[in-house]
Amino acid sequence: MIKITEKPIDIQKVIDATSSLGAGAVNVFIGTVRNTAHGKNVVWLEYECYESMAVAEIRKIMDEAAHRWPLLGAAVSHRVGTLKPGEVSVAIAVSAPHRKDSFEACQFIIDTLKVKVPIWKKEIFEDGEEWISAQPNMEKSYN
């Protein structure tokens, strides 16, 4: 399951999308909006997405994860639009027969999502706003 949505993410649904009777382990990563950044209070975040490409890039990452680890299911749901501190921006679930694989694959998916998937966030502070560039070395990873 891959979902880009403006509505709150139902984490249980993301988990359920990976369910398998052969699974002994599900690892779930949940990204949440922090109330501070660079020592300033975050009032809200705006997430923007190039949706068709984002879905395709997430699909590639999930395929790569399924190639590297023996997975039974994987699901990614990413929220876009306006998010307040405490809200869930992304939920990723991975199921596998054994726990080590579920941890490694889930971490691979979020780490890779953060550098490759065309989604952008702008932090809105009390006294200004700023687009976040999370990865200083992205140039290298594509050239």
Binding site: P118, I119, W131, S133
Partner: protein, 80 residues
Amino acid sequence: MKCVVKAFGISREMVGQREVVMELENGCTAGRLKASLYARYPRLQNLRSLFIAVNGRYADDGQPIAEGDEIALIPPVSGG
């Protein structure tokens, strides 16, 4: 040929709109399109990185652009 370039995130704010129309020579590449965009919108050069996506995939500088391709500007991403 005319080429519509979608702009996202900070690049959208730098070009001032969601889409810009560029006039390209035939045989244009992603790299040459990027140079044209830098010339027209010099602020784009301040970005830590800027990629061109062609039909929803990251493009190398040498990738040719054909009429009707979906082109997008990808400034540094920050999802998650």
